[in-house]
Symmetry: C2
Subunit: 438 residues, 2 copies
Amino acid sequence: MNHEKTIRLQPQWILPMHTDGEVLEEHDLIIQGERILAIEPRQQADARPCDETLFLPEQVLLPGLVNTHTHLAMNLLRGLADDLPLMTWLNEHIWPAEGQWVSDAFVADGARLAMAELIRGGITCFNDQYFFASAVAREAEQIGLRGLVSLLVIGVPTRWAGSIDEYFDKALALHEEIRDFSRVGTVWSPHAPYTVDDDALERIARHRDDMGLDFHIHLHESAQEIEDSLKQYGERPLARLQRLGLMDRRTLAIHMTQMTEAEIRFCAEAGVRIAHCPESNMKLASGIAPIHALTQAGVTVGIGTDGAASNNDLDLLGEGRSASFLAKVSTGNPEALPAWQVLSMLTRDGARALGMGEHIGTLEAGKQADLITIDMRPLESQPLYDLASHLIYCVSRQQVQNVWVAGQPLLRERRLCTLNEDDLHEVARTWQQRIRPN
Amino acid sequence: MNHEKTIRLQPQWILPMHTDGEVLEEHDLIIQGERILAIEPRQQADARPCDETLFLPEQVLLPGLVNTHTHLAMNLLRGLADDLPLMTWLNEHIWPAEGQWVSDAFVADGARLAMAELIRGGITCFNDQYFFASAVAREAEQIGLRGLVSLLVIGVPTRWAGSIDEYFDKALALHEEIRDFSRVGTVWSPHAPYTVDDDALERIARHRDDMGLDFHIHLHESAQEIEDSLKQYGERPLARLQRLGLMDRRTLAIHMTQMTEAEIRFCAEAGVRIAHCPESNMKLASGIAPIHALTQAGVTVGIGTDGAASNNDLDLLGEGRSASFLAKVSTGNPEALPAWQVLSMLTRDGARALGMGEHIGTLEAGKQADLITIDMRPLESQPLYDLASHLIYCVSRQQVQNVWVAGQPLLRERRLCTLNEDDLHEVARTWQQRIRPN
């Protein structure tokens, strides 16, 4: 007998997301402890004693959204600089600000602020890349969010580490520090091919294999990156990583706006997964990832918001809408990335892209209870003929009502359960005054 | 002495929008009757007796947003069909549904539902094209929204009119019917070049000139339209309308995704204005209007949401964000359509695009008091370094707090003042059951 607490959820609709198009009505979902115990017809659930029952009329229950790429702490730099080319934005604004401000406290505060935004937007799992990642991990563990933090390597000195060796030392220490955390894991994550040399990448490849971890990297973000790599290495960045043994089914390639047909085929065959950040790519004019072709070829694609400093929110529902619109207009094919496919990318495929498909991403008995409900009652969602269409094309993240991770409530009727909103406002105000005094 | 009621608004910021980049702090705006009486330093306003004072801390006051192209009643068809090519969507879904359902009651109900969405999203002025437009005009007049309705002509029989002559008769009758309305005007609006023949367009040109009205038309929406026109008329649609005397400074061309450099120059020289609907163009894969080139050439461009059945909301703030992102990625220039320019397109340029620039679109003494406030307090807008960046890149329309048109409050602290939300839900439910019974 298992005596863990059971919660019965009675939404109007359930989207299990293991089959596109499946919408359950008159069904309930039972949470037991941190897992989904069952999804069953309401009549059947009536016979089951539960510790708590939540009536969720006009709400749809679906798996929590998975944000496959972000830089959470950069919430503190949101809107600091806009409408600039990527390298100007980085060199003249973001990197100097980071050089001046980034610290354990900055990252903890920024990540906490960002996590409130994630939760309020229905995101239950993130993949973060940033300095002082143990602060991100501690915040996530305390707040209750699920995620991955980066064992970051970058070939330039920063406030996090002064040399390549220090990056590796800190990465290994971070991995040790959080290995017993229940909600947060680690992933090897060099910044980008243009900031990390072959030697460091080879070291990462060895560590990755020894430790059995995944590997994430910004890749083929812009045409400039390809051009520079051809000049410096005589090969495209993807080919270079392939040569170094880093392009396989434990690789998540972030951005990928520049791809040849051969590269698309290669990613499909090698099992490389992709994190698509359409709004970041649009706002920075980096390019358009060929997502329709990639998914047609069988590549697993998740969606990421990137950092709030670049596009300028962590709105994954909105990012899904942009992904669909961009795929349609860039291919001239209005049938590209239809609503159900985008929903899958936001949930099941996102989980698979992070190597977590066994535990999260769909609603099935035995899986982790990472769940959200969305209120379909607002006038802006009326009338309602097609749930998937509404979720992707007209619902806003403000309609997210409830969020659970591993059965723990993080948002109830839009109130944060594990964070204090007033404190967060104070944190934001304090850093704003420091970074750019009025 | 003028004894009209005065209201003093004390927001944290005012964006008058007659100069890009101008942000006033410690200033108040005084409404008198239906107009703006003054914008003045707070200390100066303290000396002025006012009937009512509203404190609006952490809110920004700006001109109401202008939606330069929509089909309001189509809110009742939102999400009925998606992920389809334009002509399939029209021929197999939208036109059959309209053929079955469109009536004075359908249009009145759909428009009323849409107007609630407009107001809640900060839109104070619309440009609608639809059948049974007198129903739209009556609703707008009663609800208090400002807008234009179409003297619609289309070369196919519909539930609105059975012949070209009937379209003209009804158009002229509509114009007479609403000529004394205070908030709603009319505009000649044939559907598109491919649905109206030369003869009808020539009749419209004569009426337009006699009546001193503007002329709006869907134009160069897709490559197919150009191709078909070349086959049928031996000329591109724009050239054809030019030949018929309809491309000049009283013309609003809607969509314009297909443009040669010569056509861009022509529009600039002729004073043709453009309504840009980026999300509709993306979702239907129609193409990408060259908005950066157009505005650089000096063409006045406003933004439109198109109908809720096509993209699938009436969120003009979001549409502005999409316009900026799309301009950047399609030109490869991240400096294209920066935040301030988009704000202008949503307000001042939108008003000019509708020929209403003298009365609305900026905050200036003497102009109509069409105003909105947006709450910058939500966590998703923290911290705040740059107001324009936030308004375009991270604010959501749910942050719109207050809306006035001609000094009349339509939304106060997010509550609709002239519409009953419960009634609107009932209306949406009733039509949903009729159109697609569960």
